[in-house]
C-alpha cells in the first residue's frame, strides 16, 4: 500500500461501515426510494466518463485559442459548457489564470468542494485533513510536498471554495510546445496542475 497509516481515507477493512451501507442499500431499494440501476449509472459516469481529461481539453483549447481563453476567464461556465461539460458541482465555474507572477491553488477547507464536470471526483488527499488544514496557511510547504518550489516573488493565491462557485486553475503553458495540436497539449495537462498543486512541465 502506498499509504503510510496516517490517513484514514482508505477503507476496505471497515467492516461495520460496509455492513451498514449494504443494509442501507437493500433498504432503500426495497422501499422503492432508489432505482438500483441508477446507482450503477451514477458510479459509471464518474469512473468512465467524467474526469480530468475534460478539464485538460478546456486548458488545451485556452492555450491554443486566445479568444477562447478570454471567454473562459470572463465567463467560465459558458465557455466550459460550450465543450459539453456542465452540471452538478460545476454549475458556476471560475477559471483562475496562472501567470509569470501569480500561482493559484484551490482547496475546500470545510468539506471537499471540487469542480466535478471538468475534473471528476476529487482524489483522497484533496478530501483529507492534511491538505484541507495546511493549504491555506502553508501553501508553499504544501506545494513542496508535491515537488513544486516557486520563487518568493511569485504570489500564491489559495482559493477556499466555501460557496457553490467552483474553481479551476488554468496552468501556464510550458515552453517547447509551439505548434502542438490541442490533442497533444491536452495530453500533458495533469489533474493536479488544474488544482494548482502542480505545474505543467516542459516536455522532454
Amino acid at each position: 500500500m502506498p499509504h503510510d497509516g496516517h490517513h484514514p481515507d482508505h477503507g476496505s477493512e471497515l467492516s461495520e461501515t460496509e455492513l451498514r451501507i449494504r443494509a442501507l442499500e437493500s433498504l432503500l431499494v426495497e422501499k422503492g426510494y432508489v432505482d438500483p440501476a441508477a446507482l450503477d449509472v451514477l458510479v459509471e459516469t464518474y469512473e468512465k466518463n467524467v474526469g480530468p481529461r475534460n478539464g485538460a481539453r478546456v486548458v488545451a483549447k485556452a492555450w491554443d485559442e486566445p479568444d477562447y481563453k478570454a471567454w473562459l476567464l470572463k465567463d467560465a461556465s459558458a465557455a466550459i459548457a460550450s465543450l459539453g461539460y456542465t452540471g452538478r458541482q460545476g454549475e458556476d465555474m471560475i477559471v483562475l489564470e496562472n501567470t509569470a507572477d501569480v500561482h493559484n491553488m484551490i482547496v475546500c477547507t470545510l468539506c471537499s468542494c471540487y469542480p466535478w464536470p471538468v475534473l471528476g471526483l476529487p482524489p483522497t488527499w484533496y478530501k483529507a485533513a492534511p491538505y484541507r488544514a495546511h493549504a491555506v496557511s502553508q501553501p508553499r510547504s504544501v506545494l513542496g510536498e508535491f515537488g513544486v518550489t516557486l520563487p518568493e516573488d511569485i504570489e500564491i493565491r489559495v482559493w477556499d471554495s466555501t460557496a457553490e462557485t467552483r474553481y479551476m486553475v488554468l496552468p501556464l503553458r510550458p515552453a517547447g510546445t509551439d505548434g502542438w495540436s490541442q490533442e497533444q497539449l491536452a495530453e500533458i495537462v495533469t489533474r493536479d496542475s488544474m488544482i494548482g498543486t502542480s505545474i505543467v512541465g516542459t516536455p522532454s
Binding site: 432508489v34 441508477a38 459516469t45 504570489e155
Partner: protein, 221 residues
C-alpha cells in the same frame, strides 16, 4: 458550527501523501455511499446545505478518524433517520419494518446522465435580492459569528479584514437554507485576505487566501 470539519489553518495532520495510482473508489462500499447519497439527494427530501450539516455533525474525534465516504454515509443515515425514511431498527435488520413513505421524485437510471449534466445552480439573480452591499475593492471584515448551526464562514477568517476581489452574484445563503430551507438569496463575493492578516508573523511570504463570503458574513472595514 465549530466542528472538526472546519480545518483551515490547523496543524499536525501529517503528510498529504498523494497517491498517483489511486483508484476513484477504494472499495465497493464507497461506490454505494456515493451513489446512494446522490440518488437520495435527488428525491428532494433535503438540500445540499442540510446534507453538509449532517456530515459536519459527526463527533469531532470520529470525524477526524474517518474517511470522506464515511462522512457521507454518516450524513445519509442522519438525514434518512431525521425524515423518518429509515429507522435504526431497519438498518440493524437490513430489511424494511415500517411502510415506505411516498416520495415525489425517484431518480431513474435513464435520467441519471441528463440530471447530472443539468445540475442545479445556487444562483438566484431572478429573486430580486437587495442591492449588493459591496463593490470590488471595498475593505471588509468577516463577522465573528459562532452559530452552533451550519455556516460557511471558516473560523480562520472570522474577525479578519480583507478586500472584495470580485462580486459573484446572488446565491442561496447556506446558513438559513440548512436550518429551514429558507434560501434568503444574497450577494456573494470573493474576498482576498493577506497571509499576514490571517496568520500573523507565521504567514508564509507572498501568499494570500480568497474566500467566498455572503453579505450576511461581512461588515465594512
Amino acid at each position: 458550527m465549530n466542528g472538526a470539519h472546519d480545518l483551515g489553518g490547523g496543524h499536525g495532520h501529517g503528510p498529504i501523501a498523494p497517491d498517483p495510482n489511486e483508484p476513484l473508489f477504494h472499495a465497493d462500499w464507497e461506490r454505494k455511499a456515493f451513489s446512494l447519497t446522490l440518488a437520495m439527494g435527488f428525491t428532494g427530501q433535503w438540500n445540499i446545505d442540510q446534507s453538509r450539516f449532517a456530515r459536519e455533525s459527526m463527533a469531532p474525534g470520529r470525524y477526524l478518524e474517518t474517511s470522506y465516504y464515511e462522512h457521507w454515509a454518516h450524513g445519509l443515515e442522519v438525514l434518512l433517520a431525521d425524515r423518518a425514511l429509515v429507522t435504526e431498527d431497519e438498518i440493524q435488520a437490513a430489511k424494511p419494518i415500517g411502510p415506505a413513505k411516498p416520495l415525489p421524485r425517484i431518480l431513474k437510471a435513464e435520467d441519471v446522465v441528463a440530471t447530472l449534466q443539468k445540475g442545479g445552480s445556487a444562483r438566484r439573480e431572478d429573486k430580486g435580492a437587495p442591492t449588493a452591499k459591496f463593490n470590488a475593492g471595498d475593505r471588509v471584515i468577516a463577522r465573528n459569528i459562532n452559530p452552533p448551526t451550519h455556516t460557511r464562514v471558516p473560523r480562520y477568517v472570522r474577525g479578519r479584514a480583507g478586500v472584495i476581489d470580485r462580486v459573484h452574484g446572488v446565491f442561496v445563503f447556506p446558513d438559513t437554507n440548512a436550518k429551514s430551507g429558507d434560501e434568503r438569496p444574497q450577494w456573494l463575493y470573493a474576498v482576498r485576505f493577506e497571509g499576514q492578516e490571517l496568520w500573523g508573523p507565521d504567514a508564509e511570504p507572498g501568499a494570500c487566501v480568497y474566500v467566498d463570503l455572503w453579505d450576511d458574513y461581512l461588515d465594512a472595514a
